[in-house]
Amino acid sequence: MDVRQALEQFQVGRSEEAFCALFEYVYPRLRRYFMIRGMELLEAEDLAQNVMVLVYRHAGEVRDRELFLGWVFKAAKNELARYWRQRRTRDRIARMEPLSDELARTLVDESTSGRQADFMEWMSHLEASEREILILRYVEELSYEDLSLALGIPLGTVKWRLFNARKKLAPIINRTTPGAKRRIH
């Protein structure tokens, strides 16, 4: 069952199987999203679970199933904002969140740690809104339409913001990763 079928089944029948299928698809993404945004593991899991509770309660409100992920990450973004407000660290949203201890502990495999460390270093050069869109695009692989819904911005702004974030990173990435492979369209 793919996520759209699971969503449809859950919207219609609210079956356990359909919710579990949604959970299996969405929860790992949410958990990862919150960890990359600076949460410790338990905090990330707690926030991810809160968003899944919202999915359970409000899945019926999703009109366009093609944009379900956009709806989910919009909820995730709101959950993250609520969390920071509660923690009274509103100024952290404007700066790069430090690498969480959990994420740092995973940087042990030499074959992957370089890439992870590079990615976090690249993100440290960006504004919060630029980091957000690149994480959702390249880690969570959201489509432009999903990004538009998740971030509450028009499609044109999504493309513009992605383009400018990459333009900003280009001198940094190309300095730190010489001879990088690329695809030519």
Binding site: R14, R137, A170, P171
Partner: protein, 163 residues
């Protein structure tokens, strides 16, 4: 950048430019070194981000246990709302764990439950339902015979039938 808008550049780099824009841009790239270098930098940046994203997805995938625990917590947060989904299956699994843990340890009990589910039509604990409960219990009874003995397996079977 030489009569091409940022939108056109963005769409070309992402491979979604319309045919007219693509042809115009590619014709221009053949003869303009500065634009070619710009495209080269942007394309390699995009590729590096894509590769890094692949790594992060691979490294930060939740394992079975994290998924199972997460699902349990969600049903706890839902409380009565999730009862029609969670109550009987989660309660049953909890009861089976309670029966097995004193005999073989909680880690072995969890592994036994997981193995019984994986070998059944449910394929995982998360997909257990009323309909596939029976084959799961048959598997669990076989596993419990090995790890808990015949008496323990009988207790597990009887507890699994109670709901």
């Amino acid at each position: 950048m030489h009569d091409f808008s940022e939108r056109e550049w963005a769409e070309y780099i992402d491979g979604i430019a319309d045919e007219e824009t693509r042809n115009r841009l590619e014709a221009h790239l053949f003869g303009c070194l500065s634009c070619w270098e710009f495209y080269d930098r942007m394309a390699s940046t995009t590729e590096e981000l894509r590769v890094a994203g692949d790594v992060l997805r691979r490294v930060h995938n939740a394992g079975d246990r994290a998924l199972y625990n997460g699902l349990q917590r969600i049903f706890e947060k839902l409380g009565g709302e999730g009862a029609e989904l969670a109550g009987s299956i989660q309660q049953r699994l909890g009861a089976l764990t309670d029966v097995m843990a004193p005999m073989c340890g909680s880690q072995t009990a969890l592994k036994a439950l997981r193995a019984a589910a994986e070998d059944s039509p449910a394929r995982s604990l998360d997909h257990l339902t009323e309909d596939n409960w029976a084959p799961f219990m048959k598997n669990l009874r076989s596993i419990a015979t090995v790890v808990c003995g015949d008496t323990g397996a009988h207790l597990v079977w009887e507890r699994g039938k109670l709901y």
